[in-house]
């Protein structure tokens, strides 16, 4: 009996080890690769021989990566800010007020979050060109709203609904207008839901590739995913893997840090919304 229990424990420990290895090894491998250059890259090894930061310097000097990161940050911050502003107002209406057509609206908004990006690609291209936003960052900010707005509205509405019913009654009886009620009563209570929702929206915008790849052209408007997808060295034969991995590590570390900091809230946000992977 005891031996069986020990074997069970051992098997469980091995399972956990396998899970951790499977989850972490690719990123660890990218990290190790990012510190290698030249022929070192082609010698297999699980540990870095020396911490050679050359690739990290090259990414910024040769690839103008600073500009790229700035572009991604600008787009993501604008998209998140605008989405949250609109979503808080919409979530109040959808979560706290009973009116006809509410269910249909929720269904429509959920439907939009299921849109394949490609389905709006040609229409969006025309719109962005008509507005003179082709190959500009505002064009990407506009396009990315289609990805972030539906699920921010959805998650915040779900959260709003759970708040106690009596909450705004007192304020209304005192004659406060709805805008004041939202600002004074709901906004302070919404923070716990807004932080993970904003973070998820930030990640969605940060990772967005298809729009950025289609609606921009010049190196000055490139975002991080496009830059990494297009990164290639002098030779067409073999990619500069060390450089690619250094760029990958740079753009991934802040996201990983954010996710780990807010992991509990993200998990609850994901399970409440369950809209976006």
């Amino acid at each position: 009996m005891n031996a069986a229990r020990l074997a069970g424990r051992l098997a469980f420990a091995l399972l956990l080890l396998a899970i951790i290895l499977f989850a972490l090894f690719p990123f660890y491998h990218a990290l190790v690769t990012s510190f290698r250059s030249g022929s070192e890259l082609f010698i297999p090894g699980l540990f870095p021989a020396a911490l050679d930061p050359r690739n990290y310097a090259l990414v910024f000097t040769q690839q103008n990566f600073g500009r790229t990161v700035l572009n991604s940050v600008l787009v993501a911050v604008a998209v998140v800010g605008f989405s949250m502003l609109l979503a808080v107002a919409a979530a109040y209406a959808l979560g706290r007020v009973r009116f006809r057509g509410r269910g249909a609206l929720m269904l429509t908004i959920l439907g939009v979050s299921m849109f394949p990006q490609v389905a709006v690609l040609s229409g969006m291209f025309e719109l962005i060109r008509a507005l003179g936003l082709y190959d500009t960052l505002p064009g990407l900010m506009l396009a990315n709203l289609v990805l972030t707005l539906p699920f921010t509205v959805w998650v915040l509405t779900t959260f709003m609904r759970e708040l106690p019913k009596e909450l705004e009654e007192a304020a209304y009886v005192d004659g406060a207008p709805p805008l004041t009620v939202v600002r004074r009563v709901f906004l302070p209570l919404l923070w716990p839901a807004m932080v993970p929702t904003a973070l998820l929206a930030f990640i969605v915008s940060w990772n967005e590739f298809l729009f950025a790849f289609t609606f921009t052209l010049s190196a000055e408007t490139r975002t991080v995913p496009v830059a990494i997808a297009l990164l290639s060295g002098g030779s067409r034969q073999e990619l500069p893997w060390g450089l690619v991995m250094a760029a990958s590590v740079i753009v991934t570390l802040p996201i990983v840090a954010l996710v780990l900091t807010f992991q509990r809230k993200i998990v609850s946000g994901l399970t409440a919304g369950a809209v976006k992977g």
Binding site: F27, L107, V118, L121, P178, A229, V244, T252, S268
Partner: protein, 311 residues
């Protein structure tokens, strides 16, 4: 005025306010989602080209299917399109099934009590947090035929005799896409299942344990039926995501070597071949497939959208 009138007036004010609060969101969604979608559908009935989006002719269903000089032409007669459809569906089925099984195993493991559980849970979030493009690049390097760590490991273990061209071999490339997708999204599925597991009542497990019922039996008779709703929701979201796959395929294999998905096909027609009409037709069909699936899920699953949120 009576109290009743007061309440009615208040309700009216609130409903009017609700529509005002909703208006900006609805306007933005109409502009960035509704309008472009309608234009895409409209373009699919025209011969528009990317370089000149205003000079086009209405050509009916010719982009979809057309009889020309005794031959069937158009999307529905294009074997490349049907190949993309077949591959995308195969990819969605295989990757989502694997994610369900692995996600369940990971969730069950994380549901047990053990030291450092929080740390392990944090660790599995990392693949999910990494941008898809970065994941694709990381795995492309690991799967590299000459210098990739995976071929090195398999050669060293004696499992293969010669390096395998994971990303160039048409039979393997789609499996490579599946592997990376499973790696990236299993955490999402696992966390959703874990959340459902943690809400299960403890007493029926206690009863099963006292009665000496085998844990595997308990899992299939008690756990699985109880968490089925959460599992189904998670898998539906994943399946819809998998059907529109683009980034991963495009960066991992450049959409070549027999991995082209429906989204990659549509974008290639639209942008690379500048054929907005034909590409829009492909986009419209993909949209229809996903819309029909979503609708049938909503109807069949009776996700209640008013009152209780669909959780």
């Amino acid at each position: 005025m009576t109290r009743h009138d007061d309440a009615l007036g208040l309700a009216r004010i609130r409903i009017r306010a609700a529509w005002m609060f909703l208006a900006p969101t609805l306007i933005v969604l109409a502009a960035v989602a509704g309008w472009p979608l309608l234009r895409t559908i409209w373009f699919s009935f025209t011969d528009a080209e990317l370089g000149n989006l205003s000079g086009y002719r209405f050509i009916g269903f010719a982009n979809y299917l057309e009889r020309y000089e005794g031959e069937w032409l158009g999307l529905l007669a294009d074997p490349a399109w049907w190949g993309a459809v077949r591959r995308t569906i195969w990819f969605a089925l295989v990757s989502v099934s694997l994610e369900a099984v692995l996600g369940m195993i990971v969730a069950l493991a994380l549901n047990a009590r053990f030291p450092l559980r929080g740390l392990v849970r944090a660790a599995i979030l990392i693949p999910w947090a990494i941008p898809t493009i970065v994941s694709a690049r990381m795995w492309a390097w690991m799967l590299n035929d000459q210098f990739g760590v995976i071929n090195h490991a398999l050669l060293a273990l004696g499992l293969i005799d010669a390096p395998v061209a994971w990303l160039a071999d048409p039979d393997l490339a789609l499996w490579a896409v599946v592997i990376v997708d499973v790696w990236k999204t299993t955490p999402f599925v696992a966390l959703l299942i874990l959340a459902a597991l943690q809400m299960l009542p403890g007493d029926c497990y206690e009863a099963a344990r006292v009665d000496g019922i085998h844990p595997v039996r308990v899992f299939f008779r008690v756990t699985l039926p109880l968490i089925r709703p959460a599992l189904v929701v998670a898998l539906i979201f994943r399946a819809l995501d998998a059907l529109r796959v683009f980034d991963l395929v495009y960066v991992l294999t450049s959409g070549s070597a027999g991995t082209m998905s429906m989204s990659v096909y549509a974008r290639q027609q639209l942008v690379d071949f500048q054929d907005v009409g034909y590409g829009s037709a492909a986009s419209t069909l993909l949209f229809l497939v996903i819309a029909l699936l979503t609708l049938s899920v909503v109807v069949l699953g009776r996700l209640r959208l008013d009152g209780e949120a669909g959780r």
